[in-house]
Amino acid sequence: MRDGKHLILCVDDDADLLDLLRMQLEKGGYAVESAFSAEEGLAKFKQYAPDLLIVDLMMEEIDAGTNLVKELKLAGNKAPVLLLSSMGDQLNLSTGYRELGLDAVFQKPVNAEALLRTIKAKLAK
């Protein structure tokens, strides 16, 4: 929590998308931290202990997103994790979602309303 708002950490290597996510989430009443890479994401996770994470599946390095999710789990993460997936990602990656303990997977382009609805539901639990 930050200033009475839920804190959301967004990890994506697409600066434009990150910027947009931040604006939409802030408009939706959340506090937002952004990270451009998996390493930065992990560091900020430890620093800020966010209430929810949004992670891009395919960043510069292949599997960076899924690896980050695994590392978060090892680091004792209890906050919900939403994954953004982009078309063209390999087929077999979709099968591991549930094992990764992910809370939702969104296909890009992400519909802002649907995202906000899901976030609200996840944080209400």
Binding site: L20, G88, S94, P109, N111, A112, A114
Partner: protein, 460 residues
């Protein structure tokens, strides 16, 4: 006749014809030399009497002479992948040389005993040669020609029209089975056996060589296809990412994230989003096609919780239906058997049906998603009360690049090519199931996909 080598006479692989003709031309030189050496050997060493050495030598020289022509003509085509063979010319050479071979053979056999000659078995050798070189029909034609010549020879000798040559010692019959006859029989069949074996093994070697070549070529193609598949995935990802970001930015802009817009600006943005939406649909379709081509698709299949899949996919379409003032209903049983499949592709198939139903059904219409188990299949269906589809259009609907349109009201007709339903069909087929539609004009359509259940396992 012979030059009119239509399809019936053409071998499957003209490159091989060149190789074979070259092999046979080399053997033919051996045959000519063999006749010459054999004749003199028989006359002066074995002591066969009454051999017409001059006529036999003439036959050998004639054989060698036309073979020089054959040899020179087929030499450029002796290696596969060398010069591109002129098919018609090679076939002409094949027919001509086999025909001439039969003539020389018949003439030579006449000289060494005619109807009683042990050399008669060489007709079989020639039948084999023709069968290897030519099409089935042409080989039979040549065998018949050879047999006709043989018949003429035997009947001619019998009736006395053709004089008989019976070199003493070369021909059996007449009761006396002497040493020279035994030697001749051994020599002839020894030679025949050796030549037949050499010939057939030579042919088999050529065939195996070309088989290896084909296998290497197919492996090369396989590797290229792999590269193409990975390339497609990378390209799709790299195209989709910026387009997706732009769509999201436009959406934000349209929602007033950077301040209120005028109605005209909003309309412009909505249209831009619509156009990009079409592009995304196409990319999505291509991605599914690429997925369907994935090597070892079967091995990636896993148990799919259909109820969860259906609910999640319907959830994604609630907004779209709402925007068109439509009712999107779900009628699902309490439980469904687990099917074996690829969740993402099944979602894609259902999403396709839903998108279409929402697109083609008029404002305020109703779209219902149902699922039920029936026998060994699970049937998922999407019904609408839209315009329906004419019977003659149904047949083409699930083929590539088809789209229902005529019966829909014109202003509602979406743009873009219809990759959609063919993709659903392919997804169903990849899951060993089928996709289809039942429709009544003016009443609506029910699109369905039927997935086959696995044999019930003890676990569930």
């Amino acid at each position: 006749m012979e030059t009119r080598t239509g399809e019936g006479l053409i071998l499957t692989h003209s490159l091989l014809l060149g190789e074979r003709l070259y092999l046979f031309a080399r053997l033919r030189f051996l045959a000519a030399g063999g006749i010459l050496v054999g004749a003199f050997f028989a006359a002066y060493v074995v002591g066969i009497q009454g051999l017409d050495l001059f006529a036999l030598s003439a036959a050998a020289v004639f054989l060698a002479a036309y073979n020089v022509g054959v040899f020179l003509a087929v030499r450029p085509f002796r290696a596969p992948g060398g010069e591109k063979p002129a098919e018609v010319r090679l076939f002409f050479i094949a027919h001509l040389s086999i025909g001439l071979d039969y003539l020389v053979l018949t003439y030579a056999i006449w000289l060494v005993g005619g109807g009683q000659s042990p050399f008669l078995a060489f007709y079989l050798l020639h039948a084999i040669l023709a069968a290897v070189l030519l099409s089935r029909r042409a080989a039979f034609a040549h065998a018949a020609t050879g047999y006709l010549l043989l018949t003429g020879l035997v009947l001619g000798e019998w009736s006395g029209v053709i004089p008989q040559h019976r070199p003493v010692g070369a021909v059996s019959g007449g009761g006396d089975f002497g040493f020279r006859v035994a030697l001749t029989v051994l020599f002839v069949y020894g030679l025949l056996t050796a030549v037949t074996t050499a010939l057939t093994t030579g042919i088999v070697k050529l065939l195996r060589g070309s088989e290896r070549g084909l296998r290497e070529a197919s492996e090369r193609l396989e590797r290229l296809a792999d590269i193409r598949r990975s390339f497609l995935h990378v390209v799709l990802h790299d195209v989709r990412s910026p387009v997706g970001t732009v769509v999201a930015m436009l959406e934000g802009l349209g929602n007033g994230i950077d301040g209120e817009l005028t109605p005209a600006q909003k309309t412009r943005i909505a249209r831009a989003e619509q156009r990009l939406g079409g592009l995304l649909d196409l990319l999505r379709g291509l991605r599914v096609l690429a997925d369907l081509e994935t090597e070892g698709l079967e091995s990636m299949m896993a148990p799919v919780d259909l109820l969860a899949t259906i609910r999640a996919t319907v959830e994604d379409h609630v907004d779209a239906a709402e925007q068109r003032g439509q009712t999107l209903k779900v009628e699902l049983p309490a439980s469904l058997p687990t099917v074996h499949g690829i969740d993402r592709l099944l979602r894609e198939a259902l999403a396709n049906y839903l998108t279409n139903a929402i697109k083609y059904t008029d404002q305020g219409g109703t779209v219902v998603v149902r699922a039920r188990e029936s026998g060994a299949t699970v049937r998922i269906e999407v019904s609408d009360n839209g315009p329906g589809i004419a019977p003659d259009e149904i047949d083409h609907l699930f083929q590539e690049f088809a789209r229902a349109g005529k019966s829909g009201s014109r202003r509602n007709r979406p743009t873009g090519i219809g990759l959609g339903l063919s993709i659903v069909r392919r997804i169903a087929e990849a899951h060993n199931g089928r996709a289809g539609v039942e429709s009544q004009l003016g009443k609506g359509s029910t699109f369905f996909i039927e997935l086959r259940l696995l044999a019930p396992s003890p676990a569930g």
